[in-house]
């Protein structure tokens, strides 16, 4: 086979053993490669990836005490350090189940099991490069946010019935689902299933049922997938999610426990199991899973302060306050001076101490949280913001508590779970009646402002409408309706007055805010396709 063009590719070999790196390097050289860099651990590797744009990364799974290969890949992808054409091959000494199934979000392009010779290496790498190249047009379109275009490229490639036909079908199904084109996604997945019950296609049909809120059908689909493909861990995650929706939380927990047994190293799954177990009052399981999440987090990009605070609260609930305090200490140490970690640690400490009746020490902890709040407010999950607000109410800082809860309500004015949690926070502070009024007021503000903007736009006063929504979206940056209307008004404005780069950027930001929270939102999809149409053409004809 022609391997002469290895010369043109940049390789990175990651292995903690220098001998192994040297051997890989000489294999690659004998295949014609010239640009070969090496890294001995995850840190080095990330540094190199930051500086050089590699075509092929060959990474050993086992990297000694540092990050393992999977965690390295997760970090690189999560931080978007890899080009979409970069081939990432995980090299393994043996194919243990734990390792192959450890991948939760990001899978390598392929696994290669040792020992292998240079012919096999060359063949595999060449094939992967070609496959990636054939997909690069799709990836580029997705990167530009042009989903309809990406789907059209899939169709074009599928029509040629290539070797990776089902891979393309899987990509198309994913794109269609993300873009809310459920009918087409279902059609493609079912065509695959008519040939064979491939696990990804079964899960895809289940996901569509789930997104269409047909939870019973989704449940049947995911249960069948788990039964027929017991090693396809993704199906367990979806099955658990569906059972949770159906309020069968104990069954959901059992399903996640099975998945964790198959694949114990997926940090996000451990996190979900811990939360679910805590809700189910199964503190033993919750503690075990939080602990596992904390330890997996040491080298993971998915590390979160919540793993520590969740563990600490669970430990306190189980009566071991000393352990809880130790956990919070390791949170502070592990995160250095990170203000959000400090804030979350202090908040957890305050509420644990309050529940122990140690009001004085609790005050100290809360004081730390108070001082940090403004610096971290923008990055907090609504649940954390509400927990902080609740603590303000509890300890008499009523004004601040009220304001913060209203702010959360303004951002999530139509989310029942958040509204009822806010109501609960008021009720816990003995302010049930006043609270429901404050919530109603905050909701009313959003409705009034939004409708005012809509009216202005309808009357054709675009400038005024635009100003109003721009301000509203800045103030309620997480509010779905406000962001959508702001995007819509700006799009109309640009249609009438011509394109403006500043507004274009803002529309993209508004749409991203909605898309990252709920990609299935129909209005979002419509606006996104209008945005795409408005700018995709220009992109290609500057």
């Amino acid at each position: 086979m022609a391997i002469a063009n290895f010369k043109a590719f940049r390789f990175l070999v990651i292995d903690d053993f220098a001998n192994m790196r040297t051997m890989m390097k000489s294999m690659l050289q004998s295949l014609g490669a010239e640009h070969i860099d090496q890294a001995g651990n995850g840190r080095d590797a990330i540094d190199r990836i930051l500086h050089t744009s590699y075509d092929v990364i060959l990474c050993d799974y086992n990297l000694g005490d540092s990050q393992n290969g999977q965690q390295l890949l997760e970090e690189a992808k999560h931080r978007k350090l890899l080009r979409h054409t970069t081939v990432f091959v995980m090299i393994t000494a043996e194919n243990t189940q734990e390792m192959v199934m450890g991948a939760m979000e990001y899978r390598p392009d392929d696994y290669l099991t040792k020992p292998f010779n240079k012919d096999l290496l060359g063949h595999r790498v060449k094939r992967l490069i070609m496959r990636k190249m054939s997909l690069s047009r799709i990836d580029e379109a997705v990167e530009r946010g042009e989903y309809t275009q990406a789907i059209a490229i899939c169709d074009e490639l599928i029509a040629a019935r290539p070797r990776n036909l089902n891979e393309l079908r899987a990509i198309k199904v994913d794109l269609c689902i993300n873009f809310g084109n459920y009918d087409e996604a279902r059609q493609v997945a079912e065509a695959v299933l008519a040939e064979r019950n491939l696990p990804w296609a079964m899960v895809a049909v289940g996901r569509i049922n789930y997104l269409q809120q047909n939870y019973d059908a989704a449940y049947r689909q995911f249960a069948a997938t788990v039964e027929q493909h017991p090693t396809f861990t993704e199906a367990y995650d979806w099955l658990a999610r569906t059972l949770d929706k159906l309020d069968r939380t104990h069954e959901a927990q059992q399903v996640l426990e099975q998945a964790v047994e198959l694949s114990p190293n997926a940090i996000l799954r451990q996190e979900r199991l811990a939360e679910l177990a805590r809700r189910n009052d199964d503190l033993t399981t919750a503690e075990r899973s939080y602990r596992k999440a904390v330890s997996l987090g040491r080298h993971s990009v998915y590390r979160k302060p919540e793993h520590y605070t969740g563990l600490a609260k669970t430990q306190a609930e189980r009566g071991s306050v000393r352990d809880a305090m130790k956990t919070l200490k390791s949170l502070r140490q592990g995160y250095g001076g990170d203000p959000q970690a400090k804030f979350e640690g202090a908040l957890a400490e305050g509420s644990i101490l309050t529940s122990m009746g140690r009001a004085e020490s609790a005050q100290k902890a809360f004081k730390v949280a108070d001082e940090l709040y403004n610096r971290v407010a923008d990055h907090l999950a609504p649940q954390t913001a509400m927990a902080f607000a609740a603590s303000c109410l509890q300890r008499g800082d009523t004004e601040r508590g009220k304001q913060l809860l209203q702010e959360v309500v303004r951002n999530y004015h139509e989310e029942p779970a958040i509204l009822s949690a806010a109501q609960q926070a008021f009720a816990d502070a003995g302010m049930a009646d006043e609270g429901s009024q404050l919530i109603a007021t905050a909701r009313g503000e959003v409705l009034k402002l939004n409708n005012q903007g809509v009216l202005l736009a309808k009357k054709g006063q675009l400038d005024a409408a635009l100003k109003l929504f721009e301000k509203a979206a800045a103030r309620m940056s997480r509010n779905v309706v406000v962001n959508l209307n702001a995007a819509q008004v700006m799009l109309v404005f640009m249609q009438k007055r011509g394109v403006d780069e500043h507004y274009r950027f803002q529309v993209r930001q508004y749409l991203q805010r909605v898309g990252s929270a709920d990609p299935s939102n129909i209005t979002y999809q419509k606006l996104l396709s209008i945005y795409e149409k408005m700018f995709a053409r220009r992109g290609r004809n500057p």
Binding site: H123, R127, L193, V454
Partner: protein, 282 residues
């Protein structure tokens, strides 16, 4: 511009977005909220679920002590060959390397490595309930890779190999385990073939069938008889204990689809006049 137009936005032609004739409709708040309602609920797809437990008793339980004993025996033989090959590698008189000893060394080391991998896999299956992680693979690609892995060994022994597999043939299997099976059979066939090996793959009645034919004199009768329950009659006398075939049989049986389970057969009716190994996966 209307929302419906966006569906056509993917056609190759470049369309200018005209300053709107029709206006982009602003959605009223109420209208917006209505979008959050549940959408229509289509008929769910429930694929038939095979009743595996009733259909098939499952693979025979492993007697791991037996497996270990026979493998140690086999590996002891291999390492013996390695040691003697090393001893004879360099001619004591002229100090030159004997290529045939090198070939033997390569072959026996390879067998040792294969056995250890097989043993480890069998251990996992027996001890940890290792489950196959099947996926869809291009069959010709897998066979090509098996060939590339064994190529140095084949070349050293002057044995050629042909692959007969349609380019649109896909299979659903655990690639690592299947590569292990192919390596094992190819290494095994090296001992029986004269100078050629043919690997062919096809789909028959929904089964993926992969056969490995050689042009030797066929497998010895004792080996054919020992199928499929090799471990009932281990013959330590002939030095080959059938661990490899046992491994292949376990791998085949781990592959299931509905109520069908993979299997292997060993016959002497190969198209090249020699032995034929067949693995069928559902």
């Amino acid at each position: 511009m209307s929302v419906e137009d966006s569906n056509n936005a993917t056609e190759g032609r470049v369309e200018r977005v005209e300053p709107a004739d029709e206006e982009l409709q602003l959605l009223e708040l109420d209208e917006m909220l209505s979008n959050f309602d549940a959408t229509a609920t289509p008929e769910p797809v429930t694929p038939p679920v095979a009743d595996l437990a009733a259909a098939d008793p499952g693979p025979e339980p492993l007697n791991f002590a037996m497996v270990i004993a026979s493998s140690i025996h086999e590996m002891k033989n291999s390492i013996g060959m390695v040691v003697s090959s090393i001893d004879e590698l360099v001619d004591p008189v002229d100090g030159r390397c004997h290529p045939e000893q090198l070939t033997q060394l390569r072959y026996e080391s390879r067998r040792l490595s294969d056995k250890l991998i097989q043993l480890l896999t069998l251990y996992r299956i027996g001890d940890t309930g290792y489950q196959v992680a099947p996926n869809e693979y291009h069959v010709a690609e897998m066979i090509e890779e098996a060939y590339l892995g064994d190529q140095p060994l084949l070349a050293a022994r002057g044995i050629s190999m042909t692959i007969d597999c349609a380019d649109d043939l896909f299979g659903f299997f655990d690639r690592e385990l299947m590569l292990g099976v192919l390596h094992n059979i190819i290494t095994n066939t090296l001992r029986y073939t004269r100078d050629h090996i043919l690997i062919s793959a096809r789909r028959i009645d929904g089964w993926l069938q992969i056969t490995i034919d050689d042009n030797g004199d066929g497998f010895p009768p004792a080996m054919l008889e020992s199928m499929p329950k090799q471990y009932r009659r281990i013959n330590f006398g002939n030095g080959r204990t059938g661990l490899g075939l046992y491994f292949c049989s376990v791998v085949a049986q781990l592959h299931r689809h509905h109520n069908r389970r993979g299997n292997i057969t060993l016959t002497n009716d190969g198209v090249l006049g020699g032995g034929r190994f067949t693995i069928c996966l559902p």
